[in-house]
């Protein structure tokens, strides 16, 4: 009736032979069922085989918790085979989170005191692998006894490392394990020495008292290491001619801890460190490992200046090594040293720069970090050149760091303004998408301040923009510049560059292209339309500009719409002020919303137009009135930060906003949903591409009657499966025969693509009466939800 169980090798074979996941699962489930049964009432002598099979299955990721108790039974058995597998099972299946783990404490205790050497070894191994803090506390005295009395080096070395584990789990136990250390340090067995040094390290790192205590063994450690290094190595412990590199590295690490911040200890080690540094055979990795540790130690203690230089030079040599691993550790270490030993590291700058070209991404990343720290005023030109070349070809994830690094370096060390502008331009055109937000602000600031370079800048920007309008930060800067200095562009006289003949039409066409391009972010569009407006005072032909501006008066993008409407109004009603408003910008204090004292006068007006809309407030209908106020000379504590400081994304950073996907007209037909005594509500719809579940509804309320509409509130409701968010409306008033409607955007998420239904509730005052209307919107076009 019971299918005979498989032997372990056969089971493994069968699992590996399974062609699909399902098949594998089947085999394993069948076998596990058998194993469970066998645990219940099978032959105890076979138990270890069953557990072994279970452990294999566990390694593949299948549940094996029912084997936990079996581990306990096997550990308690007197047979070595059972214990071996049982302890292994405990290490793999039991951990602190299961209460069962405490149950083996007793078995371990017994085995530690009465077991044979291999058994004591097993117990210690298990304890140091999965021993929880509580277990450690229970067994600390056992382990201590072993440290003091154990004669077998095999067991002793394990006991020492078990003590290390115990301290890591419960630092209070440290005091128990401190006393045996000094004696153990006199042992010759490498394993014991290694363990002891590890133990001392652990103690010193946790307690300043222990640290002071162990400083006195520095001479002894120095002696041990010296012996290792100088006497002919026994082949038993050496690797490629280096005597026991594991032990050497450990000793060096401990010396580092002891010598840190301690003159006397550091002095004691100086000679030895120099000796190791110069005599270690570096043809193979083992030697380099020791050398590396030596360098780390030299750099961390109070070593003699000559020794430090030696260490840096060793790292420099590592940089030239063919082995990538060695180059990697060298770069990492140099990065740590560059603060404290800058000039020493500078000497290796050329090699570091070469490492930029490495095909291994982790290496080039390190090289980049290091290179950036090595830029200074004397090497800035060459370094920037190298870094820019790197920027052109570097992997995407390094672009942002490289770009900001170059910009930062340029800012700190630029030899001339023109070089600075060129550099930023180059970065923006190469990696525009990856620069940080303030790059735009910085560049416009920089250009604005360099009066002699206005013509040069605007030409270069124009030429580059004509070629490529996709890199957003660059386009923004270019648009701003063209707007400001468009007249210089036409002049055609500039010493620094070839004067190309630029016509007004071309410039306007280019700005329009930017305005219409689907690649342009809303912020970029904002810059473009403002630039166009400014050109109306610098160029002759205004008709084209007027046209463009009025088109955008009904753009779905609210920010753009606001600007366009304001500019149109500027043409229509305030034309006499236009020139003054659109004068050249004054230079603004960097980084502050504080406005210059002089700028507080009438020149504030252009700033207002430049200002981006604060995150949540929708444009107030009263903005136009503000213009008039300003011109009366009232000082404005303009809270609008000038656009120079604003981030490009800020224009519509409001999380509910979305980039304007298409310029008007929308592709879904508008819908008139309400009309009462001259008050009309129109809905327009947009489905942004890339967000299939999203519908944007713009509600426009107009008033053609003779009475004002005030206190207007519109609320909406949608079916349960939808999500609705209302943005703040543009205002709550539509004056009689007002041409400025109230607009409000609804954001509707329809993940289930269910048919859209929409209910609206309106309340407002009209002709002295309170009006309330609730209705469902009919005839919603299917394109709004399909």
């Amino acid at each position: 009736m019971m299918v005979p169980s498989l032997k372990l090798p056969d089971l493994i074979q069968e699992i590996r032979g399974a062609k699909t996941q399902a098949q594998e699962r089947e085999v394993i489930q069948k076998e596990c069922a058998y194993i469970r049964a066998s645990f219940r009432d099978g032959d105890p002598l076979q138990r270890h085989r069953q557990l072994a099979k279970l452990l294999y299955v566990h390694m593949l990721g299948y549940p094996a918790h029912f084997g936990q108790m079996e581990c306990l039974k096997l550990i308690a058995s007197p047979r070595f085979t059972d214990k071996r597998v049982g302890y292994l099972g405990a290490m793999l299946l039991l951990d602190e989170r299961h209460d069962a783990h405490l149950l083996i404490t007793n078995s371990i205790k017994n085995d530690l005191s009465q077991g044979s050497q291999p058994v004591r070894g097993l117990a210690l191994c298990t304890l140091s692998t999965m021993g929880s803090a509580e277990m450690c506390r229970n067994l600390a005295t056992e382990v201590e006894r072993l440290l003091l009395q154990e004669s077998s080096s095999y067991v002793l070395k394990k006991a020492i490392l078990t003590a290390v584990h115990m301290i890591r789990k419960d630092p209070e136990l440290a005091s128990i394990f401190l006393p045996p250390c000094s004696k153990l340090l006199h042992e010759c067995h490498h394993g014991i020495l290694l363990g002891t040094i590890t133990l001392i390290m652990e103690l010193c790192e946790r307690s300043p008292v222990a640290l002071r205590h162990f400083r006195k063994v520095v001479p002894q450690l120095v002696q041990i290491l010296r012996t290792l290094v100088t006497t002919g190595c026994s082949t038993e412990h050496s690797i490629s001619g280096v005597s026991d590199p594991f032990l050497q590295v450990k000793i060096l690490h401990l010396l580092r801890i002891l010598g840190r911040n301690h003159e006397e200890s550091s002095e004691t080690m100086n000679d030895l460190l120099a000796q190791v540094a110069t005599n270690t055979d570096t043809s193979r990795n083992a030697g380099n490992a020791v050398l590396f540790e030596t360098v780390l130690t030299i750099m961390d203690i109070h070593s003699a200046a000559g020794l430090r230089v030696l260490a840096v030079n060793i790292l420099g040599r590592f940089l030239l090594n063919n082995d990538k691993n060695i180059r990697y550790v060298a770069l990492t270490s140099l990065l740590r040293l560059v603060q404290s030993d800058h000039s020493a590291v500078q000497r290796h700058r050329p090699t570091v720069v070469e490492c930029l070209q490495d095909t291994d991404a982790s290496l080039s990343r390190r090289a980049l970090e290091l290179s950036l720290t090595l830029v200074n005023s004397s090497n800035v030109r060459t370094m920037t050149q190298e870094l820019q070349t790197f920027l052109e070809t570097c992997p995407i994830d390094l672009r942002a760091d490289c770009a900001s690094g170059i910009l930062l370096a340029a800012e700190r060390f630029a030899p001339t303004k023109r070089w600075h502008i060129d550099t930023i331009l180059h970065v923006l055109t190469t990696a525009g998408a990856h620069v940080q937000d303030d790059a735009v602000a910085n560049l416009t600031q920089l250009i604005g301040g360099a009066q002699e370079l206005h013509a040069y800048s605007v030409r270069r920007l124009y030429t580059a923009l004509a070629k490529d309008i996709s890199q957003q930060p660059f386009v923004q800067v270019a648009a701003w510049c063209i707007g400001e200095y468009g007249d210089l562009l036409l002049e055609g006289s500039c010493e620094e560059t070839e004067p190309p003949q630029v016509e007004e039409e071309e410039v306007l066409a280019l700005l329009e292209k930017v305005l219409q391009s689907h690649m342009s972010l809303p912020a970029t569009r904002g810059y473009a339309i403002t630039a166009l407006m400014k050109l109306s005072t610098r160029f002759q032909d205004n008709n084209r500009i007027r046209q463009v501006v009025s088109i955008y008066g009904s753009c779905v993008d609210v920010e753009l719409q606001q600007r366009a409407v304001e500019y149109s109004t500027l043409f229509r009603k305030y034309d006499h002020m236009r020139a003054a408003i659109l004068e050249k910008m004054p230079l603004v204090e960097r980084g502050g919303p504080q406005v210059d004292e002089e700028a507080k006068e009438s020149k504030e007006v252009p700033q207002l137009l430049e200002a981006t809309v604060p995150d949540t407030a929708e444009p107030q209908a009263t903005k136009l009135l503000d213009l008039l106020d300003l011109l009366d000379g009232m000082s404005r504590d303009s809270q609008h930060p000038v656009s120079l400081d604003s981030t490009p994304g800020n224009a519509l950073v409001h999380p509910l906003d979305l980039p304007c996907a298409t310029p008007p007209p929308a592709s879904i037909p508008n819908l008139k949903v309400f009309e009462r005594e001259g008050v009309q509500l129109n809905l327009s719809f947009t489905r942004p591409p890339g967000a299939p579940a999203l519908l944007l509804v713009t509600v426009t309320t107009t008033n053609s009657s003779g009475g004002d509409v005030t206190h207007f509130i519109c609320q909406a409701a949608v079916p349960k499966s939808f999500q609705l968010q209302l943005q703040a409306p543009s205002g709550d008033t539509v004056p009689a025969q007002g041409d400025l409607p109230i607009t409000q955007i609804f954001r509707i998420l329809n993940p289930n693509k269910a048919p859209l239904r929409l209910k609206l509730r309106l309340t407002y005052n009209h002709f002295g009466q309170e009006v309330q209307e609730i209705f469902e919107v009919n005839n919603l076009p299917v394109e709004t939800w399909q």
């Binding site: 692998t129 077998s152 490992a289 990538k324 691993n325």
Partner: protein
């Protein structure tokens, strides 16, 4: 489950490495040192203050031990004798630290344990205490 997640993430990261790349990578707040032998990857996670180059030696020493024990070890040896692989590891490292730097001593310990296991299975008398 957490272990499964870690395993999967780490495996993906390591397998994504190209052949010529260096053997170290950063993962969470640890450093991963890996070495490839034929179709097997041996990975070791170390802390920030640990020496990467010596970790490479640790990995290599372990592989050498396996090689000596199984006689020209191959992937199948490890699969079909996974408990042995664990036992050997447990004689070389303990609690995350190197316990024995002599290849000879590690192999001797395994040998003795194997003998003990066999002898008990055959119902012979136990070995004398001082085997190591």
């Amino acid at each position: 489950k957490e272990k499964k997640k870690i395993t999967r993430e780490l495996v993906q990261t390591v397998l994504a490495r190209k052949p010529k790349m260096c053997s170290f990578l950063e993962w969470r707040d640890l450093k991963i040192v890996y070495k490839r032998y034929a179709s097997l990857y041996f990975c070791c996670a170390i802390e920030d203050q640990d020496n990467e180059l010596i970790t490479l030696e640790i990995i290599h020493r372990y592989v050498e031990l396996l090689d000596k024990y199984f006689g020209s070890v191959c992937e199948l040896d490890i699969i079909f004798n996974f408990e042995k692989a664990y036992f050997i590891l447990d004689e070389f490292l303990l609690g995350g630290e190197v316990q024995e730097t002599s290849k000879k001593n590690v192999l001797k310990a395994i040998e003795q344990a194997d003998l003990l296991q066999e002898s008990q299975n055959e119902e012979w008398g136990g070995l004398s205490e001082d085997i190591l």
